[in-house]
């Protein structure tokens, strides 16, 4: 049998013209590992040895407590889903409590690499989740995808190649995203409709957008209260390869940080450097709707039905302070409506911090930025055809409300 493998391996090389080199010898532990994950008792540690393992269907862990899934290390234990035939994600954890996933690499799932849903207590530690090869539209949406969960920790992880977000937390509470390395995704880190989130110590580069904090309509909960600090967010100038229709498809290449329709956000002590279109963008859902709908900015509103569930399409209570925000590029991206808009409105001097100026109520609106070095600012007044556009940073230089540390 071995001879047959070798023979076919050789044919393969000839047929594909694949560069010579040691072929990757994949092994299958699929049935054994899945059986273990199904039959394991609570409080168990499931060890995956060092090696290259290929899977054809999603690996599932459901309804377990205090279970650890542990490999021998990043790039030592590799779980590949390149040949996946079944399941919308590589690894999925559901309806569990206090699960730890650590020390392995997971690659090339057909959908999301790791999805965790309806779980209280999930830690991702030293896990690399990636799509190999050039980043492309057909890559899965999320590398790390905890959703509808609480007490989420993602630390010392690596996320590469997601066609939506590398590290994505959705509709979750009490979340820590720290010390991760995130690159070549559309969104590097995205917190969506989540509450009490700390994003710090991460390095995000060569994504389309570095860090996004979004609040979208029509979901199970609205997000708020997020601290984004001590991150290095640089060179996020990668082309946007998200499939159209998804919200991140509207993120301009060259975005450092972006806030959408969210409230109670503190952004401080970050290094936001050389993101060519925007250092920090602050947008209402109206703006995204208008641009996404191909209509002129300000002409559209959130459709009535999307206002369900008390959705608030406008941002408020935002405090940006003590960041380094710089950009050595002269031009913003020209491949996005926002980039073109900036070029028209601010030739050769794209502002570092931009908000659309579409507000729910100017009287209760609170937006402060202070001590951000030479960072420049613009309020587009997009809701009034840019009539009140102004770049006077003094107007927003104030001490905002700091958010106490969420976890002590």
């Amino acid at each position: 049998m071995k001879a047959t493998y070798l023979f076919l391996g050789i044919i393969l090389f000839i047929a594909c013209g694949y560069p010579p080199g040691a072929p990757v010898a994949w092994k299958s532990i699929e049935k054994d590992l899945q059986r273990k994950m199904i039959t394991t008792s609570d409080s168990a540690v499931i060890e995956i040895p060092e090696g290259n393992f290929m899977f054809t269907r999603a690996l599932l862990l459901d309804g377990k407590k205090h279970v650890t899934l542990r490999g021998a290390g990043v790039d030592k234990t590799i779980l590949s889903f390149a040949m996946q035939e079944e399941g919308a994600e590589g690894l999925r954890v559901s309806y569990s409590e206090n699960i730890v996933l650590e020390d392995f690499t997971i690659q090339d799932a057909k959908g999301d690499n790791i999805k965790v849903t309806d779980t209280d207590g999930i830690t991702f530690r030293r896990v690399k989740a990636e799509w190999t090869g050039e980043p492309k539209e057909t890559n899965g949406a999320y590398a790390f995808y905890p959703v509808l969960s609480s007490n989420v920790v993602i630390e010392h992880c690596i996320a590469i190649g997601a066609s939506d977000a590398g590290v994505y937390v959705g509709q979750s509470d009490s979340v820590v995203i720290r010390n991760n390395l995130v690159h070549h995704n559309v969104a590097g880190i995205e917190s969506e409709n989540s509450r009490w989130v700390e994003i710090y110590g991460n390095e995000t580069y060569q994504n389309t957008g570095g860090i996004l904090v979004f609040d979208l309509p029509g979901l199970t909960q609205s997000g708020h209260t997020t601290r984004v600090y001590s991150n290095k967010v640089y060179n996020n100038n990668y082309r946007n390869f998200a499939p159209e229709g998804n919200i991140v498809a509207s993120v301009p290449p060259g975005t450092g940080l972006m806030l959408l329709a969210t409230r109670n956000i503190e952004i401080f002590e970050n290094e936001i450097v050389d993101n060519k279109t925007l250092g920090i963008g602050v947008a209402s859902y109206d703006l995204i709707q208008a641009v996404g709908g191909g209509e002129s900015v300000g002409a559209s509103e959130v459709p009535e039905e999307q206002k369900a569930d008390d959705y608030n399409a406008y941002y408020n209570n935002i405090y940006i302070h003590h960041n380094v925000i710089e950009d050595s590029h002269i031009f913003p991206t020209l491949k996005n409506d926002f980039g073109l808009l900036f070029l028209t409105k601010f030739p050769f001097s794209t502002p570092d911090v931009v908000m659309d100026g579409i507000l729910e109520d100017p009287d209760t609106f609170n937006f402060c930025m202070t001590e951000n070095g030479d960072a420049t600012y613009a309020n587009l007044d997009a809701g009034n055809d840019f009539e009140g556009l102004n770049t006077d940073i003094q107007k927003v230089d104030c001490l905002g409300q700091q958010i106490p540390p969420i976890f002590l």
């Binding site: 076919l8 594909c16 035939e85 919308a88 559901s94 979208l216 029509g218 499939p243 229709g245 369900a308």
Partner: protein, 358 residues
């Protein structure tokens, strides 16, 4: 020969993916572990059938039943039975699955009839799935039949079985029939994190069934007269149309019935896909929740660059259609339970959206 064809398919795969690491050889290795079986190893140990196992002749107390509009499972036929402990009965529920007594067993046999098999063999039973109500919790078990059709064995991790079949349109297809693993079962049979049956709601059961040569009766009436269902109110009961029988409901009703059974087990507020905000129960009246002009939430490439789940009058712009006719694991809906496209179901949903007024 099996190996060669498997390897050839790997070769094909490898060539279609350029400049990626090329998966070449797969050697199955064991992780050496003791596994505690969650149930009896063989189907026969359950004593659900008498005589030759493959004839699926139920023992006393097991009653066959059918649904008005069943889930699509790669054109497999299904033979269902319900068992309730002697003297116990289920309670009527208007919308939900009838509330069954502890000890109940739901049995679903998946098979292909002779006329569906390219080989022309006798009826081929693929698997028998059990839902067993222990105390307050349903447990799912799957038994895979051997080629000889003499026994079925408990399958924990899931498996595939190649089989050449004729689809409903008469076209031949090489099917990799998939038996789910025990968690995959739950990925459909899950409500608020708990395993639950999907089929036996009153609206699904409300239909005639030919119990034997002498007796054809409405299933609800039959369950009532056998003392298996209590608390049924007088008057008209809800009834789901038969998706492919125009005499049973309007286009809208039949499409909604098909969408409910194929999608709503996940796409409802208590289901695993609640994060999408797309709720597809038959009783749902909010058009936005049904996908009309609703943008994708976490669909990734599943949305295929289309803006909305449903654009009234424009099925080609509705990613709901795109997803139900996809076979790509990262795009297809439902996510599990099929390897083939339900052509007739897709046609129904397409027509439904075409006729929908903006």
């Amino acid at each position: 020969m099996k190996y060669i064809s498997a390897l050839l398919s790997i070769w094909f795969f490898a060539c279609s993916e350029t400049h990626q690491q090329v998966p070449i050889v797969m050697e199955e290795v064991s992780l050496a572990s003791d596994v505690e079986l969650p149930g009896p190893e063989k189907l026969s140990e359950w004593n659900l059938f008498k005589g030759d196992l493959k004839n699926l002749q139920p023992v006393h107390g097991m009653l066959p039943y059918e649904l008005n509009t069943p889930l699509f499972s790669d054109y497999a036929s299904k033979l269902r039975f319900v068992y309730m402990p002697e003297g116990s009965s289920a309670s009527f529920r208007k919308h939900d699955v009838v509330d069954m007594p502890t000890g109940s067993i739901l049995v679903k046999n998946f098979y292909y009839d002779t006329h569906q098999l390219v080989s022309g063999d006798q009826r081929r039973i693929m698997e028998t799935r059990l839902l067993v109500l222990e105390e307050d919790e349903w447990k799912g078990l799957t038994y895979v039949w051997n080629d000889e059709q003499t026994e079925a064995f408990l399958e924990i991790a899931g498996t595939t079985r190649p089989l050449d079949i004729f689809k409903a349109d008469g076209k031949q297809v090489a099917l990799e029939y998939s038996v789910p693993n025990l968690v995959q079962c739950k990925s459909c049979h899950e409500k608020n994190g708990k395993m639950t049956p999907i089929g036996p709601t009153v609206r699904q059961l409300n239909r005639e069934y030919p119990y034997n040569n002498q007796l054809t009766a409405n299933q609800i009436d039959r369950w009532k007269s056998l003392g298996m269902l209590e608390g049924v109110p007088a008057g008209n009961l809800p009834k789901l149309p038969v998706w492919d029988d125009e005499t049973t409901g309007s286009l809208n009703e039949r499409a909604r019935a098909w969408i409910e059974i194929n999608c709503a087990h996940c796409h409802q507020l208590a289901g695993p896909a609640k994060n999408s905000g797309l709720y597809l129960e038959y009783a749902q009246t909010d058009k936005y929740r049904l996908g009309v002009n609703k943008p994708p939430v976490a669909a990734g490439r599943g949305s295929a660059g289309l803006k909305y789940g449903i654009v009234p009058g424009k099925p080609e712009e509705s990613f709901m259609v795109h997803r139900i006719k996809s076979k790509d694991p990262g795009t297809m809906m439902p996510e599990v339970g099929r390897k083939l496209v339900h052509e007739e179901g897709v046609a129904l949903v397409t027509e439904w959206i075409s006729e929908m007024k903006p």
